[in-house]
């Protein structure tokens, strides 16, 4: 007897194409959605995310801006207040510092300052992170600066499914949402169900279950954490990999639940260790899961240096699977 089981269609795609399809879908679904930023139109996006969208949606909705981060981010705030659903693309998190006032003093503060008279349904996308030999002004990981600020939401899609799925709920959210796309992920290939599944905006996800220790990661550090877990499995160390997915709101419950199972934690953060988000996670574990811990929390962060150009120096500055493995070994008492 032949059996025809309905299997969902799966398509091979990239992180970049998944982001693009999410924008396309949002713009088809809602006339109020538009994209603006530097070179999002004719150039096709500095990282190619918005390629071909100009042809479909035209220059009113795919808006090339001057190199004026402060005004085009602020214009996104004003347009959101005025009833639109803007997606603002900032080329990199380093460049977003030119719009820091608009994001922190504006988007995050105005609704509260006004006593809740209005909200700012704005999405700001930007690249973060190193690994492409772009040196110190294109490579930093500063998403935790924004995660510090009440009033903002901070998303860090690490998988193709999240790259495809996070934009729709971000646009439906009445608050300013920042989406950090790690530059090393754009070319990542993978499969997506067709149609793609809806994903929640927040809530961490266990990407690999394990019982011996918890590796906490997000964004571009997730592939490194998974690679480390694979290596550790060969040494009969069973690591759980927790992908935070969002830094604000932070799913503390998931972190504590995982640590309660494994009793050990390694936090991977591509930012510098001093004042890092890894420090925040370590503190929460210390505050709320102190008696669950069988070993000190380990942090694997970038070395305290502006990210250098030369490949061997850049590699030495960043968290690597090897450094995560070494930290994991220490937490289980197999370190040197």
């Amino acid at each position: 007897m032949s059996e025809t089981t309905a299997t969902p269609t799966r398509t091979t795609t990239t992180y970049r194409a998944a982001l693009r399809e999410a924008i396309r879908e949002a713009m088809r679904a809602d006339e109020r959605v538009f994209l603006m930023g530097e070179d999002v139109g004719r150039y096709g996006g500095s990282f190619g995310v918005s390629r071909d969208l100009l042809a479909e949606f035209g220059p009113e909705r795919i808006r090339d801006t001057p190199l004026s981060e402060s005004v085009f981010v602020g214009a996104g705030i004003g347009a959101a207040i005025g009833g639109m659903r803007p997606i603002v693309e900032v080329m990199t998190v380093n460049f977003s510092l030119l719009a820091l006032d608009q994001i922190v003093n504006g988007a995050a503060a105005l609704p509260h300052m006004s006593g809740g008279q209005f909200s700012i349904p704005l999405v700001i996308r930007m690249t973060t992170g190193a690994g492409r030999q772009l040196a110190a002004q294109h490579s930093h990981s500063l998403e935790h600066w924004y995660a510090h600020v009440p009033g903002l939401k901070v998303l860090t899609p690490a998988t193709i499914e999240d790259a495809r799925g996070m934009l729709a709920p971000a646009l439906a959210d009445p608050n300013p949402v920042l989406i950090f796309e790690h530059g090393s992920l754009y070319n990542a290939e993978g499969e997506l169900p067709d149609p793609p599944p809806a994903v929640p905006l927040d809530g961490a996800a266990v990407r690999r279950a394990g019982g011996d220790l918890t590796i906490v990661a997000w964004g571009g550090s997730l592939p490194k954490a998974l690679a480390a877990a694979h290596t550790l499995a060969g040494e009969e160390i069973d690591a759980e990999v927790l992908d935070l997915r969002a830094l604000r709101p932070l799913d503390t419950t998931a972190i504590l639940a995982s640590v309660a199972r494994t009793h050990r934690a390694v936090v991977v953060d591509e930012a510098w260790r001093t004042g890092s988000f890894a420090a925040e996670i370590s503190a929460r574990v210390a505050e709320d899961a102190f008696y669950e811990l069988d070993a000190p929390v380990e942090r694997v962060c970038s070395r305290e240096v502006p990210i250098p150009y030369a490949k061997h120096l850049e590699d030495a500055a960043l968290p690597s699977a090897e450094r995560i493995v070494a930290a994991a070994r220490r937490t289980v008492g197999r370190g040197g």
């Binding site: 214009a75 207040i81 006032d101 006004s114 809740g116």
Partner: protein, 326 residues
């Protein structure tokens, strides 16, 4: 004296000047009495601008202002009671005590603050105008800022983008000559602000900001151009603040003679005199208008005094929106 639409309108402008002045004089006393705290930036001397400009705007136009915005809020129609309660930090304040003097918002009147980052309001005004342009609404976004903002990058980014995209923004630069204590000529290589603005290819001209009728006429003309789809317009309103920058400012950077010279042009003196000359205002009518302003502000103070405190349990309310705006 016979009333005409012209004289009635002029008396309306005078009424605004009087109530804004009275409101702020009361604020000085209330600050000394520690009823109002934080920073308090007085608009005294500049009232002709808010009074004249608001008279020329439509109800569905948007207004973006600065931290020196009591006059703008009052002239825009925010009740003095709601503004005063905000100054007192009361739950009945227009921002439920979360904004204070520097952050007065009233979305029902399309007043979007109250921005205390110099230049910070300009990009937001550009965005409000962009939303109107994309939705084909014939509205104007009036963006008030001081001449100090001209030194900020936002000024240049915003004028450029608004002109490039022909957005309906009316840039209203209140040049009171001092950015805190720094005189314009000590901070700008080019002090002709209209000339500077015009380099972004938008119409720009100066007007006497001490003349309430001139302000109204020029803002009316500029707003009509903006509303007509001609793109942004820049107006420099030349004015002077009679009081110090804030309650902490000892006012060491300008001479008493200079202040006295400008006080001779006080709109609260010159405008009633002009209306008398025209035969539109007599002693009794002026006294009645002053009494009306006194009463309104006394009522506002009583309202604020009787106000309640926002519960501390609601401290974190409004950090995130409670519902999606339609």
């Amino acid at each position: 004296m016979s009333a005409s639409p012209q004289s009635e309108h002029a008396l309306g402008l005078l009424r605004q000047l009087l109530r804004i002045r009275r409101f702020e004089e009361a604020c000085v006393e209330l600050y000394s009495a520690t009823k109002i705290r934080g920073f308090l930036h007085l608009y005294i001397g500049q009232e002709a601008i808010a009074a004249g400009a608001m008279a020329a705007l439509e109800p569905d136009d948007a207004v973006v202002a600065t931290y020196r915005e009591h006059g703008h809020a009052l002239a825009r129609g925010v009740p003095a009671s709601a503004v005063m309660a905000e100054m007192f930090g009361r739950a009945e304040g227009c921002c439920r005590g979360r904004g204070g003097s520097m952050h007065l918002f009233d979305v029902s009147r399309r007043l979007y603050g109250g921005n205390a980052i110099v230049g910070g309001g300009l990009p937001i005004a550009v965005g409000l105008a962009l939303a109107d342009a994309l939705q084909h609404r014939p509205r104007v976004t009036a963006c008030f800022f001081g001449e100090g903002a001209v030194a900020e990058g936002e000024f240049h980014e915003s004028l450029n983008l608004a002109a490039l995209w022909r957005l309906p923004v009316l840039f209203l630069c209140e040049n009171n000559r001092y950015a805190m204590g720094t005189a314009l000529e000590r901070s700008e290589s080019e002090t002709d602000l209209a000339l500077k603005a015009a380099s972004y290819e938008l119409p720009a001209w100066p007007v006497d900001g001490m003349d309430v009728e001139a302000v109204e006429a020029t803002v009316r003309r500029a707003a009509a151009m903006v509303r007509g789809g001609e793109g942004p317009v820049f107006v420099e309103l030349r004015t002077y603040r009679f009081r110090a920058h804030s309650m902490y400012d000892p006012d060491l950077y300008r001479s008493k003679e200079e202040i006295a010279r400008w006080r001779e042009r006080d709109p609260l003196t010159t405008y009633p005199a002009l209306l008398r000359e025209r035969g539109w205002l007599g002693d009794d009518a002026l006294a009645a208008l002053k009494a009306e302003a006194d009463r309104e502000i006394a009522d506002a103070i009583a309202f604020a005094e009787a106000g309640t405190q926002e519960p501390v349990a609601d401290l974190e309310r409004f950090v995130y929106a409670e519902e999606l705006p339609s």
